[in-house]
């Protein structure tokens, strides 16, 4: 391949990526626009709160439990080098609520929810249910996308809060049973060093991640190709994009919240 051809291929690829980004951002803008318009499909919102929020609790809880436990072990091993074992409760808690709770919770929800949304909406598209909605005077963006976006945005902070608590409990269990901490002292060290914004920032991150997860699922579902292959591709792309967006936005939010 000549340098010119390579340059051309790179340029086309870059232009393609920009085009895809533009379509995704345009979809997000449309979705937000539809959020503000009547009618509000409250029943659908309720269904999605259960699907996205309630049914994600086990996976988020289990992830947080083992993460908190492992985090306490790691911090103990690291802090023991400096004789700073007393910091295990506070650093475990801060690590959970600021970073690991929202990020790992977001990634688990991305795996569970973005894929499911993309597959469901993609299948609806392939089987003409989206067209059927429109012929029945229902706007698919309003009926399918908006309730999922709202539900994920509202449910994720709650999931993060529950995950944070379980993660801290995981650290507590390991701290008390394996690392020799006194239970009340461990809890006191956890609570005394946690600040409101440590928790608040994680919850805000959760809301952002929830929005991005549902947005990815809805976008790839609505733009799914035909047939099983098209839906499979949409599902995969939704999870990949949601995961990348969570990690990228996590960095940006951390910069915004904690470096000024």
């Amino acid at each position: 391949m000549t340098a010119a051809a390579l340059l051309g291929a790179t340029g086309r690829s870059f232009a393609g990526m920009l085009g895809a980004l533009g379509r995704f951002v345009g979809f997000a803008g449309q979705a937000v626009g539809w959020m503000l318009r009547r009618p509000f499909h409250l029943r659908e919102l309720g269904v999605q709160l259960i699907q996205i929020g309630w049914l994600s609790l086990p996976v988020v809880g289990m992830t947080a439990l083992f993460t908190g436990a492992a985090l306490a072990l790691q911090i103990f091993a690291g802090s023991a080098r400096y004789g700073a074992e007393f910091a295990v409760p506070s650093i475990t808690a801060i690590g959970m609520v600021r970073e690991l709770g929202p990020v790992l919770g977001g990634l688990m929800v991305a795996a569970r929810v973005a894929s499911s949304i993309a597959a469901e909406i993609g299948t609806m598209k392939v089987s003409e249910q989206i067209d059927a909605l429109r012929t029945l005077a229902v706007e698919p963006m309003q009926y399918l996308t908006v309730p999922r976006l709202l539900a994920a945005t509202l449910a994720m902070p709650v999931l993060v809060a529950v995950g944070d608590s379980i993660g801290i409990l995981g650290g507590y269990a390991v701290g008390v049973t394996r690392l020799g901490f006194d239970g009340p002292t461990y809890l006191a060290n956890t609570l005394d060093f946690l600040e409101f914004w440590d928790i608040g920032s994680g919850l805000v991150k959760g809301a952002v991640f929830g929005f991005l997860v549902a947005l990815s699922g809805c976008y790839f579902g609505m733009t799914s190709g035909r047939g099983a292959q098209g839906v499979g591709e949409a599902t995969k792309s939704a999870v990949v994009l949601a995961s990348v967006l969570i990690l990228a936005s996590n960095y940006l939010l951390t910069e915004a919240f904690f470096t000024s």
Binding site: Q129, D131, A132, L136, V138
Partner: protein, 246 residues
């Protein structure tokens, strides 16, 4: 009641509709036939406002180039695969539009209406609480038909109503369509390549070929015409002017 004027529609370099014009007067049932990939479904989507034509215009129930949301109160549509919503029971599928928007029905009224429409398509009221996944293909088509007629619309569209059904169930669905269209005095447009549907449902037949309405006539004329393209299609011959490799 349903008309198109010099309709053009393409996707990229492929021109699918190349100047389709027709008119279906009130109360008539037009069946559009044509090979796979000739643009029948695209034509239907243009009529329903689901696709925007590149040029030309359509008029349905007195509305010119209508948006689907505006058209919804005036038309009923039976999709090829029925396109029932999996997450809600049959009765909510049937009354879906009538339970939304201004003047919407409350759940008990909507369910009563759905049961009435189910009876019209030959299904008992026990079907109302089932979910679409619990129904056979034929039952799903009947529920789709019940949904299409739920609001007693003056215009009905049917996309391949017998696709995927056995011959007996196809005959049942065709008979139901004929009865219901006649009873409601509706104007109907059906897309099919099933000759049985053509015989059972059509007042008039049009053939979509090479992006245009190539031939139009009565059902009897469609079955007896000497036109080589029509003959090849209606008789299902592999040789003739229509290429078999697409």
């Amino acid at each position: 009641m349903i008309s198109a004027d010099t309709l053009f529609k393409g996707f990229g370099a492929k021109q699918v509709l190349r100047g389709v014009s027709f008119d279906v007067p009130k109360g008539e049932s037009l069946v559009v036939i044509g090979g796979s990939g000739t643009g029948k479904s695209v034509l239907l989507k243009c009529l329903l406002g689901l696709e925007r034509p590149d040029s030309g215009s359509v008029e349905v129930a007195g509305l010119r180039n209508p948006r689907p949301q505006v058209l919804a109160a005036h038309v009923g549509m039976l999709f090829q695969g029925a396109a029932l919503f999996d997450s809600i029971p049959v009765w909510q599928n049937i009354a879906f539009r009538l339970m939304r928007g201004p003047g919407r029905l409350r759940a008990p009224e909507a369910k009563a209406l759905a049961i009435e429409k189910l009876a019209r398509v030959g299904l008992d009221k026990g079907t109302a609480d089932l979910f679409p996944a619990e129904l056979s293909g034929g039952m799903q088509k009947r529920v789709g038909l019940a949904r299409a007629i739920a609001g007693d619309p003056p215009v009905l569209f049917f996309d391949e109503p017998t696709a995927g059904l056995d011959p007996i169930m196809s005959a049942v669905i065709n008979a139901l369509i004929r009865e219901i269209v006649t009873e409601m005095g509706a104007t109907a447009l059906t897309i099919t390549h099933d000759m049985r549907t053509l015989r059972d449902v059509a007042d008039r037949v049009a053939m979509l070929h090479e992006g245009r309405f190539y031939w139009q006539g009565t059902t009897a004329e469609a079955l007896t015409t000497d036109d080589p393209v029509m003959r090849q299609f209606t008789e299902g011959r592999t040789t003739g002017p229509i290429p078999t490799l697409r």
